[in-house]
């Protein structure tokens, strides 16, 4: 068994459980924001921009981005790791899922920052 890991698998799984549970709460807030006004009007440009200017909601959105990216890409990592068991595949999957997580968080954060500044 290989031992040179940054995180033990048990630590990764604890992160997976915690991000999953925490994401439920923040996603619920995100959905509620679409339901406290009529749904159609909740998607209007001005309303969305006002959401982005609310610092509390910005925090919620950033949390969703981080929590769901980590939880989702770790999930896909687990599924793909189970499909093949050779070193090249495992290393490739690990690198790609970490990169995808960082890339998605970065892209989403860019949207939040730019929308907040508009």
């Amino acid at each position: 068994m290989e031992r040179h890991r940054i995180l033990k698998e048990s630590q990764i799984m604890k992160i997976h459980y915690i991000t999953g549970i925490a994401a439920i709460f923040v996603v619920a807030v995100h959905i509620l924001m679409r339901l406290i006004v009529p749904f159609g009007s909740s998607l209007e440009y001005d309303y969305i921009i006002s959401n982005y200017k609310n610092i509390f909601y910005v925090f919620i959105l950033e949390s969703i981005l981080v929590l769901i990216s980590i939880h989702g890409f770790n999930g896909i990592r687990i599924i793909l790791l189970e499909l093949r068991q050779n070193k090249l595949w495992e290393n490739m999957i690990t690198i790609m899922t970490i990169s995808a997580t960082i890339a998605l968080i970065a892209y989403g954060t860019r949207t939040i920052i730019l929308a907040n500044g508009l």
Binding site: E9, E82, Q85
Partner: protein, 268 residues
């Protein structure tokens, strides 16, 4: 059985399809079909042995005790891993029975599969009690001792000790279907059997399976417990083990007390 065939002597017959393949001779796999007589109590193993005795002696099957004690006759019967000796034809409620090799284990010939990988996973979890030897134990000057285990201590691991290593749980597991490095439900529940045993003082047991292909690849699909013929419930053992690994278990493991055994010859 509404769809059974009857001959002139009112003997019921069932259609038995047996998987045939010889990996050593690289023959193509196919199913051979046989019409086998059966009674209310006839098991699938009885039917297979009837085929071997009177129809086609070349059918390869593994069996031994015929009473769900040895675990040799595990095979896929109508899509689900079962023990052939423990499955009555009448309880299957079908007009055709399809017998195939246990899934997720390499086929040697016909219904016989290679258990090496399965046994290796079991060996890797160190399936034996590791305790301090009384001779080296500084706590006692006596050379012999016995462990004190209450009935409650025994109940914590007893059900998992009934494993007959039939391989049905390993075959049913969805993770084993794709992941060769995953130990499988049998090895993981046996690891829990030794971990929960108060006589065992091994410190590194949990580290053996704290791996990206270890216990964390169990997702509680429960198929292992569904097919286990001995009621071991490997899924329970695995989740209880996981709770220890997450540091959330409600049971704190206490090691068994050692009781001196009087070996003084004057007392004999």
């Amino acid at each position: 059985m509404n769809n059974s065939n009857k001959n002139n002597n009112n003997e019921k017959k069932i259609v038995l399809k047996i998987f045939r393949e010889n990996t050593a001779q690289k023959t193509d796999s196919h199913y051979d079909t046989f019409n086998v007589p059966y009674k209310k109590w006839t098991t699938v193993l009885d039917a297979l042995l009837h085929v071997k005795s009177y129809m086609d002696p070349s059918v390869a099957i593994r069996y031994s005790c015929r009473m769900a004690s040895c675990g040799s006759c595990g095979m896929k019967i109508n899509g689900i891993p079962r023990l052939a000796c423990y499955t009555k034809i009448s309880e299957l409620e079908t007009s055709t029975i399809e017998c195939g090799p246990l899934p997720n284990l390499p086929v040697i010939r016909d219904l016989v599969t290679d258990f090496s990988r399965f046994f290796n996973h079991h060996k890797n979890i160190q399936p034996y009690i590791q305790s301090k030897d009384g001779v080296d134990d500084p706590d006692t000057e006596k050379k012999t001792f016995s462990f004190y285990q209450s009935p409650e201590d025994v109940d914590k691991y007893l059900q998992f000790s009934y494993c007959i290593k039939c391989g049905l749980c390993y075959s049913a597991c969805p993770t084993v279907g794709t992941d060769l490095k995953f130990p499988g439900p049998q090895a993981l529940s046996q690891l829990y059997r030794y971990f929960a045993d108060t006589r065992d003082a091994a410190k590194n047991r949990l580290d053996i399976v704290d791996d990206r292909h270890g216990i964390w690849r169990c997702h509680f699909a429960g198929s292992c417990s569904k097919v286990c013929p001995k009621g071991i419930d490997p899924a329970l053992g695995i989740q209880l083990l996981r709770s220890y690994m997450l540091g959330i278990s409600k049971n704190e493991k206490k090691l068994a007390k050692k009781i001196e055994i009087q070996t003084d010859e004057e007392n004999i």
